[in-house]
């Protein structure tokens, strides 16, 4: 079977040999007659979006075995917040994790990965990795509150695109800039994703306080009548209700490759939980 020619290609050829002897007949398509002008506009629009940028981000979300309930719920919360993600089954802990995870990411055809690793049933480490050759970051996660807590009362559409707000100190240093770019790409839902919903009714807040990245998710409630205009003075009556989850990330290391590679950045202030335990025990004895 010959290769199917796109309509746009034939369109491009036709106007070239246009002669103004007779008014053009409307083009015939399967669904009826298509007006020439309309078609021209459509092809222009298509061309514009094709030359533009398409966000084809896909995130793989997995965890290690022996993860505790609270962190598992956090992972499930992330899955519900990001419709462009795919959840995979637990990964064995013993084997060399780097190779297995890289393979998994390629197999699923994702462009990034969020891997939750729980150690000693207490500490949660989160890996944020861009595939195939992208940088990877390892975080220590603290202060976890999941969406199931009754104190977090907000709610929003599942799959609606969030507005992302970053505090200004993300631009102060190179490693923060890199982290900001990675967070934007992972947490921002692609524009015309098939599972995404229209309307923006929630906002993520990433702030750096005390060298930690704090994450908050708020529902936006503003009195309005139309979908594309806020009532006059409505912006002042806007309130935010927290939806959750909330957590705090402490960056440990940034690697040049995915799940490994040369160390590009090491947090000089980071103390591993094991050390803290050791130190506190030492002060007792």
């Amino acid at each position: 079977m010959g290769k199917k020619r796109k309509h746009s290609e034939t369109e491009a050829a036709a106007p070239a040999k246009k002669d103004d002897s007779a008014p053009e007949r409307p083009k015939r398509t399967l669904l009826g007659w298509k007006d020439k002008n309309e078609d021209a506009e459509e092809s222009k629009a298509k061309a514009a979006s094709a030359s533009g940028f398409r966000n084809k981000e896909k995130v793989l979300v997995t965890c290690s075995r022996r993860i505790s309930f609270r962190y598992r719920h956090l992972m499930l919360n992330m899955v519900s917040l990001l419709p462009h993600c795919k959840k995979d089954s637990k990964v064995e802990a013993k084997s060399s994790k780097g190779a297995t995870l890289n393979e998994l990411v390629e197999l699923k055809g994702s462009s990034s990965c969020l891997f939750f690793e729980c150690r000693k049933h207490k500490d949660l480490y989160m890996w944020m990795v861009k595939s195939p050759s992208g940088p990877s970051v390892k975080f220590l996660v603290n202060a976890v509150h999941t969406m199931e807590e009754l104190k977090l009362t907000g709610n929003h559409l599942k799959g609606s695109r969030p507005l992302l707000t970053f505090s200004s100190n993300f631009d102060k240093d190179v490693h923060w800039k890199l982290l900001k770019e990675m967070l934007t790409q992972v947490f921002g839902i692609p524009k015309e994703h098939r599972k995404s919903k229209p309307y923006h009714d929630h906002v993520f807040a990433f702030s750096i306080v005390d060298d930690h990245i704090w994450f908050r998710n708020y529902q936006i409630s503003v009195p309005h009548n139309e979908a594309d205009k806020v009532a006059r003075g409505g912006l002042d009556k806007m309130t935010l209700v927290e939806v959750g989850p909330r957590f705090c990330l402490n960056p440990i290391k940034i690697f040049g490759g995915s799940f490994g590679g040369p160390t590009l950045y090491e947090n000089p202030f980071y103390v591993s939980p094991n050390q803290v335990l050791g130190f506190s025990l030492a002060t007792f004895c």
Binding site: F53, G134, S168, D201, V209, V222, D228, P268, V271, S280
Partner: protein, 294 residues
């Protein structure tokens, strides 16, 4: 302290590797000042920390999206942080995050409004939400319960205060009355003495310049007015309030035991109970009180 180009070739992520590295940092622990809770960190940065600025910039260029991508793809807003927030002050921290998100939303909405894109959800748009309806029911009942608790405690406090006030006022009045009585008796005695001294001369009522105050003290019952009694009130306005308050208890007991009592159909799978999911917050104290009274 060199944060220079320091290509430490790390292997894949072996935990053993990290523990070895952390052992080498063990001597820096003696300088360290590990505070409690979330902000555990070293007071002095470790000397061996890697900071490869060029490598980081390279990677940033690699993964960045093209410059001409529309803002609607990224939807990011940067907000100035006011002043440094203390991590341990929960309220201030949360306020800072809240204001950051609020400011960001404002700016983003202004941009979206300019672009003419719909961004507010219409009231009739129903779709799957990120928290299920049953969950939101639980949240709502918990909020209502909390509100009820607060209101009840407010009422109790008010009632207590009122009682105190009333008691004070009452004691004040009693004192006043006692004083008045004493005064009157004193004045009568004085008048008697006066008369005795002046030898019981018939001076007439005009001499009686006794201070009996105003005419009020001559009223019967000491000036207490009886409020108008409603015609339907068979107790004549003197009914005790408690007889009205025990009505609910009486009603309940009547419905349970009166006229031969209820038949045993107390637990049933009915239309109302099918949708009652387990874990509905029914307000803890409601059942407990009755148990205690027995």
């Amino acid at each position: 302290m060199s944060f220079e180009d320091d290509f430490v070739e790390d292997d894949e992520m072996n935990m053993i590797d990290e523990d070895v590295a952390s052992d080498s940092e063990a001597d820096s622990l003696s300088d360290s000042d590990s505070e409690n809770a979330i902000t555990e960190k070293l007071a002095e940065p470790t000397k061996t920390a890697v900071y490869n600025r060029d490598g980081l910039l390279d990677k940033l260029q690699d993964i960045s999206w093209p410059e001409d991508a529309d803002w609607t793809h990224k939807l990011t807003v940067e907000i100035e942080q006011g002043q440094a927030v203390d991590v341990n002050d929960d309220l201030a921290r949360e306020m800072a995050f809240y204001t950051q998100a609020l400011e960001g939303t404002r700016q983003a909405f202004e941009k979206l409004q300019e672009m003419g894109l719909p961004f507010l959800r219409p009231a009739d748009y129903y779709a799957e939400m990120v928290k299920s309806d049953t969950h939101m029911e639980k949240v709502k009942s918990k909020l209502l319960y909390e509100k009820k608790q607060m209101e009840e405690s407010e009422e109790r406090r008010k009632a207590r205060d009122n009682k105190k006030m009333a008691k004070e006022v009452q004691s004040q009045k009693m004192k006043e009355r006692a004083k008045q009585k004493k005064d009157e008796i004193e004045s009568v005695k004085k008048w008697r003495k006066q008369r005795q001294q002046s030898g019981f001369s018939e001076k007439g009522a005009g001499e009686l310049d006794l201070e009996f105050g105003n005419g009020k003290s001559f009223q019967r019952g000491g000036g207490k007015k009886r409020p108008g009694v409603s015609p339907g009130d068979r107790s004549g306005g003197k009914g005790k309030p408690t007889s009205r308050m025990n009505n609910k208890k009486r009603e309940f007991r009547d419905s349970k035991f009166g006229h031969g009592g209820r038949k045993g159909l107390s637990k049933q799978n009915t239309a109302e109970t099918t949708n009652d999911f387990k874990g509905g917050f029914r307000g803890g104290k409601a059942g407990g009180n009755k148990r205690q009274k027995r």
